[in-house]
């Protein structure tokens, strides 16, 4: 690829949110129904649980600890999180959108990651899996999804009020 980023950007593939939602849902369902990404049920995509499985599996192997790993990840951990980063690098380079950005507030980012992971594992999955499991008929995930929507609206309104003041 000798194209400059500007010319790559002009020819880059464009995908709408709606199309992305359809592709992601199909990928998640197919992974769960045909490729043994289970149990637990509706486990096709989960950024927090799969990341947890990978991290805990590696820690268990290195330090012979006994941290929790989902049954789908016992023999070999699910690599969804690694795949997402690879896919994103690929798409970003192909479209000329890859560029290093300095961290604005690293301590804040780190703490938010820590907090979100703990709360996601408490609720039973990240935002993606809560949606997925709610669609599959998990009442507990449906409750968590409703609470998540309330949380988003509240945080957004508070941020907007602070910005307008």
């Amino acid at each position: 690829m000798t194209l400059r980023p500007e010319s790559r950007r002009a020819t880059a593939i464009r995908i709408t949110g709606l199309q992305a939602g359809v592709v992601m849902a199909l990928a998640a369902v197919i992974a769960g129904s045909f490729f043994e990404v289970r149990p637990p049920e509706a486990y096709g995509i989960c950024m927090s649980c799969h990341g947890r499985d990978l991290a805990n599996w590696v820690t268990n192997g290195m330090f012979s600890t006994d941290l929790t790993v989902a049954r789908a990840s016992v023999v070999f951990p699910l690599l969804t999180t690694v795949g997402v980063i690879l896919g994103s690098v690929l798409a970003a380079i192909m479209s000329g959108e890859f560029r290093w950005q300095k961290p604005a507030r690293p301590i804040r980012s780190f703490s938010l990651g820590l907090i979100v992971m703990n709360l996601a594992l408490l609720a039973g999955g990240c935002a993606t899996r809560l949606t997925l499991a709610a669609s599959a008929g998990d009442l507990s995930a449906l409750v968590a999804f409703g609470a998540m929507a309330v949380g988003i609206v509240l945080a957004t309104l508070l941020l907007r009020r602070r910005a307008l003041r």
């Binding site: 949110g17 939602g21 820690t59 997402v84 690879l86 798409a91 990651g113 408490l122 988003i152």
Partner: protein, 140 residues
Amino acid sequence: MTLAAIASLIVGITIGFVGQRSRMCFIAGIRDYVIVRDTFLLKGLVSFAVVAWIAFPLSGLIGGEFVGEFGRPVIETALLAIAGGFGVGYFSVLANGCPFRQHVLAGQGSTSSMVYLTGFLAGAFTFHAWVAPLLIGYLP
């Protein structure tokens, strides 16, 4: 089980690619609608939920495995789900994107998101080492 790992890697690359091209985020859909009534990402969230809802029983009919039974929530697990879900929504707005979006941003070079992911993986450890033992028996 190794099949699952390979499949999940391919699923990850696919959705990572799609997610980068579309800026898909499960938090920003609702956030953008609240702020500026923009429905670009909200459509993604809704289509994800609707397609998954249709595809789960359908994949069972064409030879895949049906989705099994989920445990019925009791009051303790429902409260944890509410607390966890609310917190995921609230703090993901502060972090500017859901965990999926943070992985995608890390892939396109945002070091902020890479730091977020470090915290994210550290969170997996803190949860299982300290938080989960306190709540044993109540987790969904």
